[in-house]
C-alpha cells in the first residue's frame, strides 16, 4: 500500500470515529433535552412556551389581516389586482433580519413607536413575526380563494350574493385549505430566528425562544445541545401540525366532502 493511500485510510477511520463520538454526544444531549421537558424543567418549558405563544400569536394576528386581504384580492376584480398579487407573492420572501431591523427601528426608544416601550418584549417579537407571516397567509389565501371563486362565481352572481357574504362564504368554504395556509405561516414563524433575535434580544427568562436558544448554544460551541434543542423544536412543530390536521380530519368527517 502506498503511503498516500495508507494516510487517507487512516484519516477516514479517524473521521468515522469522530462522527461516532459526535453522535454519542448528540444522543446524550437529546436525552438530556427530552429529560428536561419530561421532567418539567422550568427554563426549557418557559422557552418552548414563549416560542409557541409568540408564533401562534403572530399567526393569529396575521390571519386576521391576511385572510380578508388575500380573499379580497382573490375574489374581487379591481384595478391593480394583478400588481397586488405580485406584491403579496413577493412579500412572502421578506428576509426576517430586515423585518427585525425595521421593527427594531420602529420600536426603539428613538423610533416613532418608542413610547410604547415594546422593544425587547414578546409583543415586539409577535409584531415582527406577524409582518413575516401575514404576506404568506394573504398570498396563499388569495390563491385558494381565487380557485374556489372560479367554481362559485356564477352561482353566487345568480343568487345575487353581496360582496361581504361572498368573501365570508369563500373563506368559510376554503377553511380546510386555509388551515394548511395558517400552518405554513406557523412553520415560518416558529423556525425564524433573525427577527426575534433583533427585536427580542434573546433575554434569558424574558424573550428567549427555541430558535434564539439554539443560536446561543451554537455560539457557545455546545453543538450537541443545540442540535438536541433543534430536534425538540421540530417535534413541537410536528405536534402542532398534527393537532391541527387531526382537528381538520375530524371536522371534515362531520361536515365536508
Amino acid at each position: 500500500m502506498s503511503p498516500v493511500v495508507h494516510m487517507m485510510l487512516f484519516q477516514c477511520i479517524n473521521f468515522g470515529k469522530e462522527i461516532l463520538q459526535e453522535m454519542d454526544g448528540f444522543w446524550q444531549a437529546l436525552g438530556r433535552a427530552v429529560g428536561l421537558i419530561v421532567g418539567g424543567d422550568a427554563e426549557l418549558i418557559g422557552i418552548v412556551g414563549l416560542s409557541l405563544r409568540v408564533s401562534l400569536g403572530a399567526v393569529a394576528v396575521a390571519c386576521l389581516i391576511g385572510l380578508p386581504l388575500g380573499a379580497a384580492v382573490g375574489a374581487f376584480r379591481f384595478p391593480g389586482r394583478a400588481a397586488a398579487s405580485v406584491v403579496l407573492n413577493a412579500l412572502m420572501g421578506l428576509p426576517p433580519v430586515v423585518v427585525g431591523l425595521v421593527v427594531y427601528l420602529m420600536l426603539s426608544a428613538a423610533g416613532p413607536f418608542g413610547v410604547l416601550g415594546l422593544l425587547y418584549t414578546p409583543a415586539a417579537m409577535t409584531i415582527a413575526q406577524t409582518i413575516l407571516v401575514a404576506p404568506i397567509v394573504a398570498a396563499l389565501t388569495r390563491q385558494v380563494v381565487e380557485d374556489l371563486d372560479r367554481e362559485y362565481a356564477e352561482q353566487f352572481a345568480s343568487l345575487g350574493v353581496g360582496p361581504l357574504r361572498r368573501l365570508t362564504a369563500l373563506l368559510w368554504d376554503a377553511r380546510y385549505a386555509l388551515l394548511t395556509v395558517a400552518l405554513a405561516g406557523f412553520g415560518r414563524a416558529v423556525a425564524e430566528v433573525g427577527a426575534v433575535m433583533i427585536v427580542g434580544g434573546n433575554i434569558a427568562h424574558a424573550t428567549r425562544t427555541m430558535t434564539t436558544a439554539i443560536a446561543l448554544e451554537t455560539s457557545k460551541g455546545n453543538l450537541e445541545l443545540a442540535l438536541a434543542l433543534g430536534v425538540v423544536l421540530v417535534a413541537i412543530a410536528v405536534a402542532v401540525t398534527g393537532a391541527a390536521m387531526t382537528l381538520r380530519a375530524s371536522a371534515a368527517r362531520l361536515a365536508y366532502a
Binding site: 426608544a109 428613538a110 424573550t207
Partner: protein, 275 residues
C-alpha cells in the same frame, strides 16, 4: 397606517403584563460576558440584593453602544474604552467606570502552521501569521474584541483588510460563531479568555499566544443618561452600577469560575458604601 392597528392592539393587551414587571433594567452587553456564563452567575445575586431584574441583550460592543445611544437600554457593560468614553462625551451616559478585566489570547490549530505557539509578543505573532499566510478568522463586527484585534494588526504594521477573503476571513459574527468558524477552518482566532474557557467546541484548537500586556481586556460600565433618554430607568440603573462596583459585586465577579479557572478579575476603583 394598516400596521398601526395591530401594534396598538398588542400594546393594549400587554399593558397589564408590563405594569407588573416594572422593576427590571435592560443591560446592553457583549456576547463574551454572556456566553462565558458570568451573568447567569452574578445577576441572581444582584437581584437577591436589590430586587431588580437585569435583562441582558448580548451583542457586539459596537452594536451594544449603538443600541444604548438610541435609548434602548439602561446600562452599558462593554469592553472598548475609547468607544465608551465617546458615548459618555456625546451625552448618552453618565460617568464610565472600570469594572473588571480579563485578557485576550490567540488560539490556533494544533498543527500551528505559523509556528507561533508559546510566543509572548502578540503583534509579532500576527506578523508571523501574515507571513505564513495562515488562515485567520476575524470577528469583523466592530465589537470590542474586533477593535482590540485591529489595534494589534496596527502594532504589527499590517493591514489585514488588504487580504480579506484570502487568508484573512471576516466572519461578521459574535465570538462563539467566529470560534466555531475558526475551528472549522483550522484558523487562528483572537478571543477573550472567558469565552474560550467556556467554549464547548474546541476540538484540536488550543491557546497559542497569551500574556502580552497588549492583550489586556478592560470592561467598563456606564448608566444611560436620563437627561438624554427620558425612558431610561436611571434610578434602577444607578443601583446596578453601584452594586457591580461595590465590594459585594466585585466579590461576585471574582468568585465566578469555570473548570476551576477565574474568568474575570474585578478592578473597580475603591468607592463608597453601597446604597
Amino acid at each position: 397606517m394598516i400596521r398601526r392597528a395591530p401594534v396598538l392592539l398588542l400594546a393594549a393587551l400587554l399593558a397589564g403584563a408590563a405594569a407588573a414587571e416594572e422593576r427590571f433594567i435592560i443591560l446592553q452587553s457583549t456576547t463574551s460576558t454572556r456566553n462565558s456564563g458570568l451573568f447567569d452567575f452574578i445577576l441572581p445575586k444582584f437581584r437577591a440584593s436589590t430586587g431588580i431584574e437585569a435583562r441582558v441583550v448580548a451583542v457586539g460592543t459596537g452594536q451594544a453602544i449603538r443600541n444604548a445611544a438610541r435609548g434602548d437600554g439602561d446600562v452599558l457593560l462593554v469592553h472598548d474604552r475609547e468607544a465608551e468614553e465617546r458615548f459618555v462625551a456625546a451625552g448618552h451616559g453618565g460617568a464610565r467606570h472600570d469594572v473588571m478585566y480579563n485578557d485576550f489570547a490567540i488560539v490556533g490549530p494544533a498543527a500551528d502552521p505559523a509556528r507561533i505557539a508559546g510566543a509572548r509578543d502578540a503583534a509579532a505573532a500576527l506578523a508571523a501569521i501574515a507571513r505564513a499566510r495562515a488562515v485567520f478568522a476575524s470577528r469583523g463586527d466592530d465589537s470590542g474584541t474586533h477593535k482590540a484585534e485591529l489595534r494589534l494588526w496596527r502594532a504589527a504594521g499590517i493591514d489585514p483588510a488588504a487580504h480579506s477573503g484570502t487568508w484573512y476571513r471576516e466572519t461578521g459574527s459574535g465570538m462563539g460563531a467566529t470560534l466555531n468558524t475558526g475551528v472549522g477552518m483550522g484558523a487562528y482566532v483572537l478571543t477573550d479568555r472567558a469565552t474560550w474557557i467556556a467554549f464547548g467546541n474546541k476540538r484540536g484548537h488550543r491557546i497559542a499566544v497569551e500574556g502580552d500586556p497588549r492583550l489586556f481586556n478592560q470592561y467598563g460600565v456606564v448608566a444611560v443618561s436620563k437627561a438624554r433618554h427620558p425612558r431610561a430607568k436611571a434610578a434602577l440603573a444607578r443601583r446596578f452600577v453601584d452594586w457591580i462596583l461595590s465590594d459585594e459585586g466585585q466579590a461576585a465577579i471574582a468568585s465566578y469560575r469555570v473548570d476551576g479557572q477565574q474568568l474575570f478579575f474585578p478592578n473597580a476603583a475603591r468607592r463608597g458604601r453601597v446604597r
